[in-house]
């Protein structure tokens, strides 16, 4: 399997009053046409990793890496023009909260059509058809209505699906999904995941799935990176998560309550300062 994305020693640094603080500290991995999960708790640097790959580290933060290669393109040296040709068309990102990612004063349809037209040159009617087809593909029951609606007129789940439709309508090679379903109800979540799953299986898209939900990631992804304090503490096959070696991964697994019940009190996670070393 050829690597779609290669990341070596990625570091993201933010200046603070007490000197620079590294939130991502030497993350290394490569991604094929597969589903890669990045799991960690808040502050583990998982979201900043995703943003840095897309060159979206918010200023004054700085991202550096030994290698940051997307399909033969060195992203470290990418010019703004290169980024424009890549983002949206070839690599996309789905964020947690659709409210911040959709333009509030444009209808969903117009934003979708613009995204399509940005990708290639087709007629307006063609773009419209593709946009509607995409809305249907993300399980929106009434695509015509959503097409004409403004983002604030949609419910959370609907907005998130519209957002995913917008990111997928250009058929990117790489999708970074940052907690794409945590604002959604569990029953909707499954549908959204199926859409992503199909895109990976049918079109060979590479997917980086960033989440705090170990149970979800282990059942959805092929491989999992577990992050703690800016570092990858463990990398393993999702199916082998139960045999995880690192105490942090095991702690994360154990502290979840189970429907079958039993353990009381719940085992809590004892953090070891050595994990962050």
């Amino acid at each position: 399997m050829t690597a779609l994305l290669t990341v070596d020693d990625l570091r993201v640094t933010f200046p603070t009053r007490h000197g620079p603080s590294e939130v991502v500290r030497g993350v290394t991995f490569s991604l094929g046409r597969e589903r890669l999960g990045i799991v960690g708790e808040s502050g583990s640097g998982k979201s900043q990793t995703g943003r840095a790959i897309l060159g979206l580290t918010p200023p004054p933060g700085r991202a550096t890496a030994k290698v940051l290669d997307f399909d033969g393109i060195d992203l470290r040296a990418a010019t703004p023009a290169t980024w424009r040709s890549l983002r949206g068309a070839r690599m996309s990102m789905v964020m947690q909260d659709p409210k911040f990612s959709l333009n509030p004063v444009m209808t969903v349809g117009r934003q979708l059509v613009e995204a399509v037209k940005f990708g290639d040159t087709g007629s307006r009617a063609e773009a419209r058809d593709r946009a509607l087809a995409m809305l249907e593909a993300v399980q929106i029951r009434d695509p015509e209505r959503v097409f004409r609606a403004y983002p604030h007129e949609l419910s959370g789940g609907m907005g998130q699906r519209a957002m995913i439709a917008m990111m997928l309508v250009t058929e990117p090679d790489l999708l970074i999904a940052d907690e794409p379903t945590s604002a959604l109800d569990v029953t909707v979540q499954v549908e959204v995941l199926r859409i992503l799953d199909r895109l990976v299986a049918d079109r060979g898209m590479g997917l980086i799935f960033i989440s705090h939900d170990l149970r979800l990631v282990s059942s959805f992804c092929d491989r999992v990176l577990v992050m703690y304090a800016g570092r990858v503490v463990e990398e393993l096959k999702a199916s082998e998560l139960r045999q995880a070696q690192h105490p942090y991964t095991r702690g994360l697994m154990n502290c979840l309550p189970q429907i079958e019940g039993g353990r009381r009190p719940l085992p809590t996670l004892e953090r070891d300062a050595a994990w962050a070393k």
Partner: protein, 255 residues
């Protein structure tokens, strides 16, 4: 079964938004025994949180009777009610006043209800939720999410209520912090004989915390079941079964 602490009979909540009327809760009934922990499970928009808000008087009720210890509640709620029933909110980042120190958050309810020994009570409340003296004069922005939720629990408990309404108390927290907060709530209930009414979208959390629960969908209670029935996956309705399936994680084939 012990004596009934809280009973809700035929509760209805209707909101008017512009010209539309939204029936957020329709004909919901349940009873919670003293010392019991009762759960309400549902997805967003199912009306589960509105039930809690209706009980404590934050949402107007359009139908039904809510009774505490056999007595029908008056509207607006009396001061005595608030000493009996307190609530912990979902988002610890939104439920603490940004300009008030922990000390102020905890001393205000004591002042409102004219409690004595305030210094002792504040120190005790902080110790009870596992926060030391060092936290007493901090502002919310100096606290982590889990610490904030502990402060919110201390605030709810400082009036020594008998019933705690918990509105998704851990859904904004990391899994490891969630475990700590759930253990804390568990311990406090055992120590003080509290009655819990807990709302959550997470079946596993409710199953861990509650002896009985109802499942809500579109404002209605579709099913009531016990923890044992839930643990054995003995659900009556399709909706509860789909919730159960979804909580197991992702499955590629349609359920």
């Amino acid at each position: 079964m012990g004596e009934v602490m809280l009973s809700v009979e035929g509760l209805g909540v209707t909101f008017r938004r512009g010209g539309d009327t939204v029936r957020a809760v329709r004909d919901v009934s349940f009873t919670v025994d003293r010392g019991e922990s009762f759960g309400i499970v549902g997805e967003s928009g199912s009306g589960k949180s509105t039930v809690l808000r209706a009980i404590c008087g934050l949402s107007p009720t359009s139908a039904g009777v809510i009774a505490m210890g056999g007595q029908t509640l008056s509207a607006p709620r009396s001061a005595a009610f608030y000493r009996q029933v307190q609530m912990v909110f979902q988002d610890p980042y939104a439920s603490l006043h940004p300009r008030h120190t922990v000390d102020r958050v905890l001393s205000e309810p004591l002042a409102i209800h004219g409690f004595d020994r305030r210094e002792d009570r504040i120190e005790q409340a902080l110790a009870d939720v596992g926060l030391g003296e060092g936290f007493r004069f901090r502002y919310p922005h100096q606290l982590s999410g889990g610490q904030r939720q502990r402060v919110a629990i201390a605030r709810a408990l400082i009036l020594e209520p008998r019933v705690l309404l918990l509105d998704e108390p851990t859904s904004a927290l990391d899994a490891s912090i969630q475990a700590e907060v759930l253990n804390l709530l568990d311990r406090l209930r055992a120590e003080r004989g509290l009655t819990y009414l807990m709302v959550s979208h997470d079946l596993a959390v409710v199953s861990h915390m509650c002896e009985r629960l109802i499942v809500m969908q579109h404002g209605r209670a579709v099913e009531q079941l016990s923890r044992d029935a839930l643990a054995a996956h003995r659900a009556e309705t399709d909706y509860t079964r789909s919730l159960l399936a979804a909580s197991e994680g992702y499955s590629p084939a349609p359920v």
